[in-house]
Subunit: 500 residues, 2 copies
Amino acid sequence: MRESGEPESGEPDRWPGAGGPPFDPERFRREGRVVIDWIADYWASLPAQRVLSDVEPGEIAARLPAAAPETPESLAAVLGDLERIIVPGLTHWQHPGFFAYFPANASGPSILGELLSAGLGIQGMLWTTSPAATELEGIVVDWLRQLLGLPDRFRLGGDGGGMIQDSASSGLLCCLVAARERAAASGTGPCLVYASADAHSSVVKGAKIAGFPPAAIRRIDTDSAGRLRPDLLEAAMRDDAAAGRVPCFVVATVGTTARGAIDPVAAIGTIARRYGAWLHVDAAWAGTAAICSELRPMIVDGAELADSWGTNPHKSMLVNFDCHCLWIASRQTLATALTTKPDYLRTAVGDTGAVVDYSDWQVPLGRRFRALKLWMVLRMIGAEALRQRVRDQVAWTAEFADIVAADPAFEILSPPSLALVTFALRAGDEATTELLARVNRAGSVFLSHARVGGRHAIRLAVGGTLTSRADVLGAWGVIAAAAADPVLMSKARGRPAGER
Amino acid sequence: MRESGEPESGEPDRWPGAGGPPFDPERFRREGRVVIDWIADYWASLPAQRVLSDVEPGEIAARLPAAAPETPESLAAVLGDLERIIVPGLTHWQHPGFFAYFPANASGPSILGELLSAGLGIQGMLWTTSPAATELEGIVVDWLRQLLGLPDRFRLGGDGGGMIQDSASSGLLCCLVAARERAAASGTGPCLVYASADAHSSVVKGAKIAGFPPAAIRRIDTDSAGRLRPDLLEAAMRDDAAAGRVPCFVVATVGTTARGAIDPVAAIGTIARRYGAWLHVDAAWAGTAAICSELRPMIVDGAELADSWGTNPHKSMLVNFDCHCLWIASRQTLATALTTKPDYLRTAVGDTGAVVDYSDWQVPLGRRFRALKLWMVLRMIGAEALRQRVRDQVAWTAEFADIVAADPAFEILSPPSLALVTFALRAGDEATTELLARVNRAGSVFLSHARVGGRHAIRLAVGGTLTSRADVLGAWGVIAAAAADPVLMSKARGRPAGER
């Protein structure tokens, strides 16, 4: 059966691969430095790169070999291909001109936290499989809870607790399943999900995964500022309850994706409680801004009524994607819904209930040691500097919005919400679409689009690690120059409908 | 509203945080080297560490500050605490004496792949948000498909395709949802899930998340070797179909967690097809061994009947957790079930269908650039050396099993399946439990337990990055010495029932 490499009794420890041992400390030191330097050079090169890649579909794949090599290649060969083939096909999320979607900002301490996590290579699925991974996660997530001013009900130690998941989508799904199971345990009838018409796509996706039929999702209309209308929520829940349906799960969004609208959480929470529904607050993007005391009330008001509350330090808080922090008021409810412990995953200490086995709080069984990067950002950057960043970004966005508002060709579609503003050309949707396409094609900035009040909007989301006031003002320069091109309007009129 | 740090017009680019800019290339070079060296030293220190941490619940948490610092601390302070507080609380998955659960092995190239992914900080949720991340992933997952000898139906380019998810649990959930939606589109009646009694806990967990009631999960009995019995599967599906229920999703396990049993996939697939059910092959642990041609048939036979097939290079193939490779025969079916694209996530190129937006194939929206680490392992280690590792581990496990079988105090409960064997003391479950507790408490090796044929079994799973033949034989030394202690049997009889 063996073809070669039968271990000789004289040297049982020698790893026979032609490439040497899979971890050789001295080689790792040498190659690690090369990669560290490569990353430093990459960041230094970012301002000179295009933000949005302009490759065609299939172009990168066509430049890669069709099969894996049989024998080892050098790090230099890999880095050469990374540079030559991969980098031109990247959209550079860390570029100072990245204003699209929401930021996914990284930082030195966070990259080193990811590196340490990979280097340790431990797996925190159970407390036993690395107690420190579970306990550090509980502690640093509680550090963040305190910085955000979230209520004690989410503190680990009482009935609640916090954890890190990969994304707000996964966190929402877990809470939705917990709410569904809680509702199923206490009654019958079809369970319903409520969220604003502007809530994130993860609500519909999560409900779909959790087996809710499309008709079980109530999209509640928003007011003119994009906020869920509590009166309509109450009417919908009243009607559903009266018809024997079970109001099960309500999502309040703190910072909608399209325009950053902040739902009235306290009012929503009061209604949710009245009907026995689970209140989940999706503060994925806006949540971390609550580290600033002056912004806190609008973000955390009503959190004391929430059954779960989530935010993403991986968006604007300098922690590498993925890092979604989720707090729950009743960790038992979540664990009851998700725990499936066969004999091989049970441990004496786990059975006592004295420890948290975080895999019981999430979809996957395995867990990376994500707490390290959050710990390193909080310690090596510090709360004070993180607050300063938020304040700067909010101020720069306001300044940008004032400039846009002063240009008669433009109008603001939604005023700045924290560090997000949307705007359009007065000339209409086609012109706006064409303008955005041109701006992005030019390569120095990247902005994305959304529907705001039925209009096609350009979104500017500020929060990149390297993004400065000059970059924000520079984005306006690019936009204004493109809009001033007399050809734009005629081009816009000639574009095929539906393109974006 | 601002408290300090208002940007001065003269220096708009200065990042005002007391800790300096969040990414400073020169500081990153300096600190990166320190962390690289720390990891090299950590790996070099592993053989001298305890494998399984012996800290008490709450011990690590009690040694950490209760709140985050306001001002920055140094990398040296963080690494000092890592060394002093965190490392003693880790269970060292990369230790050569780690034989528990399944391995989660890492390697130099893979750690550097994770580092590059973190350093680039891009996010591949849509093709547009980094075309190279999507295309490299498609290519390297296809490299692995070819190495494993999986059929062309999973090749990207036809109707199928492959991707990387975090874990086998998440991959299975997505396939289950796709199967549920496909079944719902073509008929009515309650949908059912079939898996062997020894299938992984993720089947029950996934079904629970996807809204299947407990009664909708059919656990099919296994034969004496732990393999799902096709005759019982067929009988169950026939009865269900006759009663108007819908056989929806069948899981065939290639390598059960308890004992590495390999279900008869081809027979199961034939039955699944007969009833129109989706066949998912869970080859999470065993799958990657198919890179060896002599092991391939028993692993991939029947794959041509599968709708989805998943394996974890993060277990034994030297790729850092997380890296689950999932192939599907109909990518459209998966995308139809999971796609929820609001306006702000639609792109012109995505709308044409010419590219894959991988977020439509998974639970989360965001995606890390995981393909880099798989690419680097395949290139820098090479297929030949990866095969040699599998062959060595299989041979060492067989050698270990022969030694155990020759000891009259022990019996093999399940013969070696690839690099996994289970065994017990003939003296009974309590003695076996006590023996395992003692062996693990000693600290030089860590093995875990399972139920095999109703007996309490000790599992030896070989596959650690640093684990050599000497370590495997050394594990036997520790076990035999502990078993030889005359106090063991009396202690075992005195143990409180139910402890493990």
